[in-house]
Each structure stands twice: as C-alpha cells, then as structure tokens.
C-alpha cells in the first residue's frame, strides 16, 4: 500500500515542485502573468496530492466496515514472515511475547497487519546504528480491561522532543527518501477501529509504539 501510494503521490509532488520553481524564476524576472499561472498550477497539484491522501483514508474507512475477530498472534506472525528478508538484511531479530489466553480484537485483518508491519519496519530501521547484538525488536501484547495493547519496542535512538511533536504529521519524515505518511496512515487506521496509536521512549533506550484496540 505504502509503495503504490508513494508512486502515485510522487507525480503531483514532482509537478508541484517544478511549478513552484518556475514561479520563483518568473517572479525574479518580473513576469507577472506567468508567475500567476505557475502559482495556480502549484495549487492544483497540492489539491491533487490531498485528494490522493483522502482516497487512502476513504479506502481505510470503507474496509473497516467489514470487521472480523482477529487473533493477535497470527497477525504478528504474518508480518514477521513478510519481513523475514528485511530482518536478515538488517541483522536484527524479533522477540515475541503474546499470551495464548489473549482474546481477539475486532478489525480488518489486512489493515491491522499493515499497521503492525509499519511499526515493525520503523523499529528495524531505527536500529540500523545499534550494535548488532542489541538489535532486538520486542513485540508483546496484553489485555487491559476491555482493550488489547500491542507493543512494538525497538532499541534505536528513541524519539527526541522536537521529533515527538511531529511523529504523526503528514509528510514529516526522518528517513532519507521517506514520504512521511506511514505513521499518519497507521493512526488513521487505529482510530477508524475505535483504537489509538501512541508512542513513548523506553528506559534503557529506544522507542515503543502502542496500538490500543478493543477486544471482541
């Protein structure tokens, strides 16, 4: 999902960047009519980008109409299977602790997997500078009253105060080549499941993301 989105969004963002650059040049040259038309084009492309993001949100909402009971352990297993190669390449491993007695959550399986996949991938990427023996991603889940909390915890650098304010801001990213939409979409998915996505720094270093969902 994230990759198609990246490709689709790249086009209006490219056009927007180019039109803005043309506008800058026309402004310096005092070419008023071309400046105005370039700025109009810029706005059209910004609008087009917004529509693409809106369509993704619409897609998320539509899917949540068809919710089912999902056990947490299989969701995590699917994600880890998908990311096997990635983990090997990054010389990291996962430690999973999910009690067998844990009940299921209500939700769309594909979307919930997408959220967990994003969190796991972020966690792995965050540990690129961590010494190899410390590259352990901890995934655990626990019931908390009528809710289930799924934690994805890494041993990366953690999240500093300035970054913390913008973690969920669309198009904010700390990765080179990143689009800055992953966590924003994850939170939209969590919220459309009447859940929540939060994060904190861990004692001993690293960050932990908590996906809070309701039990079925």
């Amino acid at each position: 999902m994230a990759l198609t989105l990246a490709h689709e969004l790249n086009q209006p963002l490219t056009a927007l960047t180019n039109f803005a650059s043309a506008a800058k040049a026309f402004a310096t040259q005092g070419n008023q009519p071309m400046l105005v038309s370039s700025l109009d084009e810029t706005m059209t492309q910004a609008q087009r980008s917004a529509e693409i993001v809106g369509r993704i949100r619409g897609f998320v909402r539509q899917r949540t109409a068809g919710v089912q009971d999902c056990l947490v352990a299989p969701l995590v297993t699917t994600v880890l299977t998908l990311l096997q190669g990635e983990m090997r390449a990054r010389q990291a491993r996962a430690a999973v602790r999910i009690p067998e007695s844990l009940g299921s959550v209500r939700g769309d399986r594909v979307l919930l997997e997408q959220v967990i996949l994003n969190l796991v991938l972020n966690g792995l990427q965050a540990m690129d500078e961590t010494p190899v023996e410390g590259r352990v991603l901890e995934i655990d889940a626990a019931a908390c009253g009528a809710r289930v909390h799924i934690h994805v915890a890494d041993r990366g650098p953690g999240i500093d105060d300035t970054t913390a304010d913008q973690v969920f801001t669309p198009f904010f990213t700390t990765k080179t080549g990143g689009l800055g939409l992953g966590l924003n979409i994850c939170r939209t998915i969590a919220e459309s499941h009447r859940g929540n996505l939060t994060f904190a720094n861990r004692p001993g270093g690293g960050a932990v993301f908590t996906l809070d969902l309701e039990c079925s």
Partner: protein, 207 residues
C-alpha cells in the same frame, strides 16, 4: 545561461503524467531553455530528432514502452542524445543499471530545482561536447572524401611512417615519383604537414 549550453537546441522531456510533463517544460522555459515535450516513448522516437546531439529527460515508468526500452532503442540507433532519467522512489536500482549502460544520470522524483538544473547543465555540457566532436568529425570526413582512392591508400601507409620507396613497392606497380605526388596531395587536401599528424587524424576520426 552559458552560450555553449544554449547552442544545444534539442532538449526533450518524455513523461506520461501530463502535470509532470507540463511543469518540467515550464520550469525549463522559465530558465531560458526551449524544450519539446512528449507523452510517450513512441511519440518521442517518432518525431524527435534523435540523430542530432541534445538531451532527453526520460521518465523510467512510461505507459506502453518503458523509459529503459526507449533508451535501448536510442542506443541501437547510435543516437548521440544525452539521456537523463527521471525515476520514482522505488526505481533507483533500475536507474543505476541504466547509468551503467551509458545513460548520463538520473533525477529522483520529486527533485529540488537546484539539483535538477545543476544536473541538466552538466548533461547539456556533455551534449555540447558531443556536438563539437561530431562537427569536427564531419569536417574531417568531408576533407577525406576529397581524396582519390589511390591517395587514400597512400595516406594509410604514410600514416604508418613508411618511406616513399617502400610504399612504391607495396603498391607496385607504382612509380616513386607518383607516390611523392600522392603524398603531397594528401597533406595539402587534409591540411596537414607530416605523417604524425596524418596518423592522429586517421585515429581521431576513425577514418
């Protein structure tokens, strides 16, 4: 703009996204470049002047014919065009492969204008260099074509540093005096003064 770069008249943009295509056209126009845009590889190959030096900014992901296929076609036709690829986030490995096959470089979408214009200036510089080389080769070939077949034969042996006597033997029956006359004609027609220059001329222009 650098006058040498302005001398490169053929600048093309090929992208199937209407907005990307138009925006790139406008951006280049705002910096004084005249540019022709195409929506597909087929349209580009069909009407662009691919046998003359210039530069093409080519999207990797086009509709029916991929940017890489267009690039391969250009190479098969021995086009002197300098190729700059436009590539999305996930396509960098493909772009790298294209550069290994002789493309000039690539620009990642979206690309900031300073980087885009900087890379384009280098590509146009390369195109201008290729144009100069082609012109000098064409001029050399024009001079060469003024030689008679016999003079061409003699010229090749003179370039190897052979003395007239030896050439007369090699091309026998041929009189020494005739070889001397041919040698003088070759130097006069090609505007050269010695066998070293002649050797370099033949190598440089692959005559």
């Amino acid at each position: 703009m650098n006058p040498e770069l302005a001398s490169v008249k053929n600048l093309y943009v090929v992208d199937d996204d209407e907005a990307v295509r138009r925006s790139l056209g406008l951006l280049l126009l705002s910096r004084g470049h005249a540019v022709q845009v195409f929506a597909s590889g087929e349209a580009f190959l069909g009407s662009a002047d691919v046998q003359n030096p210039g530069c093409v900014i080519l999207d990797l992901r086009l509709g029916d014919m991929s940017g890489l296929q267009v690039f391969d076609t250009l190479r098969a036709q021995e086009s002197p065009l300098v190729v700059l690829f436009l590539s999305g986030h996930g396509d960098i490995p493909v772009a790298v492969e294209a550069v290994q096959k002789g493309a000039f470089g690539w620009l990642e979408k979206p690309c900031n204008d300073a980087h885009l214009l900087g890379t384009l200036a280098k590509a146009l510089g390369m195109a201008a260099h290729i144009a100069t080389q082609l012109r000098s080769r064409q001029a050399a070939l024009a001079l060469w074509s003024r030689l008679t077949p016999r003079e061409m034969q003699v010229a090749r042996l003179v370039a190897q540093g052979l003395p007239n006597k030896r050439i007369a033997l090699d091309l026998a029956p041929l009189e020494l005096r005739t070889v001397e006359a041919h040698r003088a004609h070759v130097f006069a027609k090609l505007n050269l003064s010695n066998s070293h220059e002649l050797d370099r001329f033949l190598r440089e222009h692959k005559v």
